[in-house]
Amino acid sequence: MCNHNKERSCFEYVDSQLPRVPLELVVNGEKVYELIDPTMTLLDFLRHNLKLFGAKEGCGEGECGACTVIMNNRTVNSCLVLAVEAQGAEILTVEGLSKDGELSILQQEFIKYDALQCGFCTPGMLMSARALLDRNPNPTIEEVKEAISGNFCRCTGYESIINAVLSAAKREREELR
């Protein structure tokens, strides 16, 4: 039970029963067309409708970053974006990082550096890191910290995460050129 609404857990997705509205977008390279509830968040849509459970709901108010996905090449807190706002958008979630069953370099480095403990923040961390490396293939430690400033790791394993991102950046520069 949350503090904000005594009657109902307010972050739990509840269907508004309003008339459905059409939503067309691209998720992890695949076209999606669905009729949806206009009040659902992008996070609700990904988890509830598409059964993509990578993005998590931590705080539900943009503080923790566990719901981070990439929307039109920009990281967003998907808990603060309405699904209808993603009309025509291109969305990348953690499920879209691996190719043909092989983990991406970034994911491999997260494993190598033990950059995950409980794992709850990991999908969000990976997406923030992915967006960073896309806009800056050679980031400094400070730039990595800045890029994950909106992602909380309550196991506090930041050191390993930063090292994993720096190592992935190096490998991507060497192997993907």
Binding site: N5, T75, L80, L82
Partner: protein, 285 residues
């Protein structure tokens, strides 16, 4: 979420204004980083949500020596951070933008949303105040331009009427030699609201302009204090004097969760001294 709203995203300003007129109580959605939290917490229940991001006028970010800098209502904070021209001409604005919330939030949050939300600690308010920004407001009845000094009326309150939309803000062009800084103090470095936010600007005519946020019901432009130091050279003694004098203009809440009033009084003085030093250094370079 208990709100059962109709979502409407018009492609023109006219359609948006008519919708507002026809549907009282409509909430305007830009980045949604404040509004979505209120809706999800059921602090606010709304029946109509007007997404303004499809309105072409709100997508404009432009600069001309005659008109100055125009920032449309859909321009995100990160779009301001990434603009090198803005950083060169209006450094305090870029520095405040750099410090607003987290990277993801800055990808969605807008400058206009930050001032319309009218939090006393709005990071972007102080730089807009020292740059004499003008807020462009429209309704079906016509346009009006509000001076940013007149825009805030209280905690989370502005002069805006229910049927009005802010299309954007303009910052008058600056002359060569004009410089500014933004300093803030928060509990942690990173994603946190500020305890004190301070913008200082030294114009090309060596006039010192000051604005401060999170220390009163609204962000403040310190015009009286500016007058009392007009024509004076910025020395360590003057900095010391301003750092004491500024406390007379503050009225921080005694029971804030983020810091005590005493701390805010103290840190405002510290920021003034640091800021003036930085300003002088910038000017010397």
């Amino acid at each position: 979420m208990l709100s059962k709203f109709e979502y409407y995203k018009p492609d023109s300003l006219e359609k948006a204004l008519s919708y507002l007129e026809e549907n009282p109580g409509t909430r305007i959605l830009a980045g949604g980083t404040d509004l979505m939290i209120l809706l999800r917490r059921n602090v606010e229940i709304c029946d109509h949500l007007l997404d303004i991001k499809g309105i072409p006028e709100t997508r404009i970010k432009s600069y001309s020596p005659e008109e100055g800098l125009f920032i449309g209502a859909s321009i995100t904070v990160n779009e301001i951070c990434e603009d090198d021209e803005i950083r060169k001409m209006f450094p305090a604005l870029s520095e405040a933008a750099d410090n607003l919330a987290s990277y993801q939030i800055r990808n969605r949050a807008t400058l206009v949303g930050n001032i319309c939300n009218a939090s006393p600690g709005a990071d972007l308010a102080a730089p807009l105040l020292v740059y004499d920004a003008k807020v462009h407001v429209v309704s079906l009845k016509g346009k009006r331009v509000v001076d940013i000094k007149e825009f805030f009326t209280g905690v989370k309150q502005t002069v805006l009427e229910e049927n009005e939309i802010v299309v954007g803000v303009t910052l008058p062009a600056v002359e060569a030699g004009d410089t500014s800084v933004y300093l803030r103090k928060s509990r942690i470095k990173g994603h946190d609201l500020c305890n004190v936010g301070l913008a200082l600007r030294l114009t090309s005519e060596k006039k010192l302009l000051m604005a401060i946020a999170a220390v009163a019901k609204t962000p403040l432009r310190l015009t009286e204090l500016e007058k009392s130091v007009e024509g004076k050279e910025i020395t360590p003694e003057l900095a010391e004097w301003i750092s004491e004098e500024i406390k007379n203009y503050m009225s921080p809440r005694p029971n804030s969760v983020r810091s005590s009033a005493e701390y805010r009084y103290h840190i405002a003085g510290v920021l003034v001294k640091r800021g003036l030093k930085k300003l002088i250094e910038k000017e010397a370079n």
